[in-house]
């Protein structure tokens, strides 16, 4: 690394980034993988530099406007501090107070977490991306301002200067973590640096109204307003799905029909609505499978309930709770027996795990992963399957939210072992997997030059894993498939693979799990997977 960053640099008053990410410093990709160095970093425009706070690393995810006066700066700092204090009060933050307190009080700063972080590793061990760097800032603020520590406390815990440049840099830094919690998994104490990033995002959003535009304005706010972050209202989503049904019927030879608002159905299926627009074959394949298996299911056209996303999970407890309750309410109204969550990782964790304790009484409708439902269908013998249709190398990407954070590890593998003769694992996998680099909202964020950071840094480890998994068949004559049963992961892979040109160089395609199942269904017209589409 060409420069050393000290804790004190976060409070530097100049506008210059405290670190300058250089391609030459990134972790080299293994030779022989044939992807080269990738495109050059795009520098921030002069206008953005003048207008926005970009003092962290030469990347700008939030477009945080520069305050116009010293008074405005001071007001923002006071607001930030008020937010930090609220983070440690049960009235404001009962949701995560205990884990946050334990992380603040007991981290030994041993750095075991650093080696687990794909961002830190990919950056060439840049100090700014060390999981502890961010946490240590909050920890020092906590002991100084929340616990009102004096000189002895500063001696024990270290000091930090609180000023606007520090706050602005910390806001950006909260969006340099995928919240994959791989660091927490390795912590001998059980401290959780990803939680700190999550909690910092909450301070910025819930107190200061600062969040990534893609996940707040165009994400949870749009979903709560129109019903979906895609902007589709109920009529539009039904039209789109009707169109998909027609397409799928033609493509598969099945009579594909998606049932809507069927009261008393066994299952309410929640899709990430992004699938409907970006990967229509995914909800289409679900419909083919569920109909072929004779499952009683429905989708809901209730506001919010036709889009399983819940971006609040990443940055805002209130937004999170509002969306989760809408999902549960739709299921309650339809009197379904259970909610099944489609191929969307964060929706899995949001509704199954994180929302569990706020779904009280009749709102506590059982939630199940589509991975288990699909496994049960595939293993039941209800579908006639021909694995030879999937006779190409396939590897599986484990979405962090489904696997490490929810423990759904084997069902998708059982399916692949049954329908994909050339299935191979990437290393490491399962609960030790690496994030795709698009987690925590990054997959939908592309302001300024953030995409360069996303594909060169946060996605670097996954790129390496994918290429290594296909190391024995990288030649472009062999088509290969990365099965990523998660919309956000697919979004990241789509863009990551395009950035590194993986299709042209290696014929590596990405897609979901249901597409592979339908591709293997003997009764379906052959060629469900469209290799030329990537």
């Amino acid at each position: 690394m060409s420069e050393h960053v000290n804790m004190g640099d976060i409070s530097r008053r100049d506008a210059e980034p405290i670190t300058h990410l250089q391609k030459s410093e990134l972790k080299p990709l293994p030779a022989g993988l044939g992807v080269g160095d990738g495109p050059a970093f795009t520098p921030l425009s002069v206008q953005v530099k003048e207008r926005c706070e970009c003092g962290l690393d030469g990347t700008c995810a939030l477009n945080l406007p520069r305050p116009k006066s010293r008074e405005e700066e001071e007001a923002l700092v006071i607001k930030f501090l008020a937010g930090v204090e609220k983070l440690f009060s049960k009235e404001n933050n009962w949701t995560f107070l205990q884990p946050l307190l334990l992380t603040m009080e007991h981290c030994t700063r041993c750095q075991t977490c650093s080696d687990a972080c794909h961002i830190y590793e990919a950056s060439g061990r840049n100090e700014v991306y060390r999981p502890l760097f961010r946490s240590e800032i909050l920890r020092r603020l906590y002991f100084k301002y929340v616990k009102h520590g004096g000189l002895v406390s500063r001696w024990k815990h270290g000091d930090i200067e609180l000023n606007w440049p520090m706050v602005a840099r910390l806001a950006e830094l909260a969006y340099r973590c995928n919240l994959c919690r791989r660091c927490a998994q390795t912590c001998p104490i059980g401290a959780d640096n990803a939680l700190v990033a999550h909690e910092l995002r909450k301070v910025f959003s819930m107190e200061m109204g600062i969040a990534a535009k893609e996940i707040h304005d165009n994400g949870s706010m749009k979903q709560l307003k129109t019903g979906s972050s895609t902007g589709m209202n109920p009529a539009a989503v039904r039209d789109s799905v009707d169109f998909i049904d027609e397409e799928m019927s033609e493509k598969t030879g099945f009579d594909v029909h998606t049932p809507w608002d069927v009261e008393g159905a066994d299952i309410l299926l929640l899709h990430n609505a992004g699938e409907i627009l970006a990967w229509p074959e995914n909800p289409g394949a679900f419909a083919v499978i569920l109909n072929a298996a004779g499952v009683s299911w429905t989708m809901s056209s209730e506001l919010v309930a036709y889009d399983s996303i819940n971006y609040g999970l990443w940055y805002d407890d209130a937004q999170f709770a509002r969306v989760a309750l809408k999902h549960a309410e739709a299921a309650r109204k339809l009197k379904v027996k259970k909610i099944v969550i489609g191929e969307c990782g964060h929706a899995h964790k949001a509704l199954s795990v994180i929302a569990d304790r706020i779904l009280l009484g009749e709102m506590n409708i059982p939630r199940e992963s589509s991975m288990t439902l699909l496994r049960d269908i595939v293993m039941s013998g209800k579908l006639k399957l021909d694995p030879s249709r999937n006779d190409f190398p396939i590897t599986l990407h484990d979405p962090c939210n489904v696997v490490r954070l929810m423990g759904v590890v084997e069902p998708q593998r059982e399916i692949l072992r049954k329908i994909a003769p050339k299935f191979r694992e990437m290393e490491p996998h399962g609960v030790n997997n690496y994030c795709c680099g698009g987690g925590s909202g990054f997959a939908i964020m592309s302001p300024n030059n953030f995409t360069d950071w996303r594909f060169q840094v946060s996605g670097r480890k996954k790129l390496e894993q994918v290429l290594n998994a296909f190391g024995d068949c990288l030649e472009p004559e062999t088509p290969k498939y990365v099965c990523a049963p998660c919309s956000n992961c697919k979004g990241q892979m789509r863009d990551l693979f395009a950035y590194w040109n993986l299709w042209d160089k290696h014929q590596i395609l990405y897609g979901g799990l249901v597409e592979l199942i339908v591709n293997a269904m003997a009764d379906v017209k052959p060629g469900f997977l469209e290799w030329e589409w990537h």
Binding site: L101, M221, K326, V431
Partner: protein, 302 residues
Amino acid sequence: MATLVFLFIYAGVLVFAVGCVGRVVQYARAPIHLRWELYPVPHEAPERVTHGGSYFEQGDWWKKERRPNLAGELSFMIPEMLLLKGLWEYNRKLWYRSFPFHAGLYLLMGAAVLSTVGAVFGGSGLAGVLFAIARVCAWAGLALTTFGGVALFWRRLVDPELKNYTGLGDLLNVGGFAIACVLAIIGALSGSMPPLATLARALLTFDSTVRLPAATSAGLILGSVILGYIPYTHMAHFVAKYFTYHTIRWDDAPNNKQIAARVAEYLTYRPTWSAPHIGADGTKTWGEIATTNPPEKQAVRK
């Protein structure tokens, strides 16, 4: 001098106990948080725990009986507590320093307990055996803690990765243990150290006539200060780990009546988050905020 040493020891133990109880109360009284588990969870069913799976892997999981897997939990906890298994797996370099340090402390604690029990049993044969084991534990404990303390101190001093995260307090924490142990060793080797049995009985009966070497006295006083100081620092992670593991990482309990009752209470809290989209004006409860939809209302007004 012995009086002063004994007073420090009694005070150190008392402050330590009070501090530990305080920590437990602090964390135990915190509200139940939203679920935040992290897999693998070792109390999962044996057929799932090997790959880190959860009960969510079962279709209709809520209809299935959940069998607690105590053996799975113990098979994780015991190696973690005694051998620092996590550190061995994820940070071997540190393990070589940290394990001797912790093992040394365990042995010193063992020596203290054995000596106390031996003192209670008086001059019986059992007491003799206990004191003999305690002596071995004490010597091994002092040696390992000294080695580990010095090694950890040195790492904090020279490792560039720790530069940003090491304060004087961190150096004194580990250095203090090593110094206390070195003093105790010097005292024990001085030839004027009373037998462990004598010291233990004197401590138990507050017999201040016992004569201690100056180095031993200094070591015991420093050790007592550190003991009392531990619960008020991050070093109280032996308390924290119960909560970080059992109530966070492994807390996969589905919602039930007890949890729901507590959460229902939290939903009456009145947050004061001030971003406009939250709509928290200090009078609305969490429950009200979560069930309103300001963006939808704005859309309707437009």
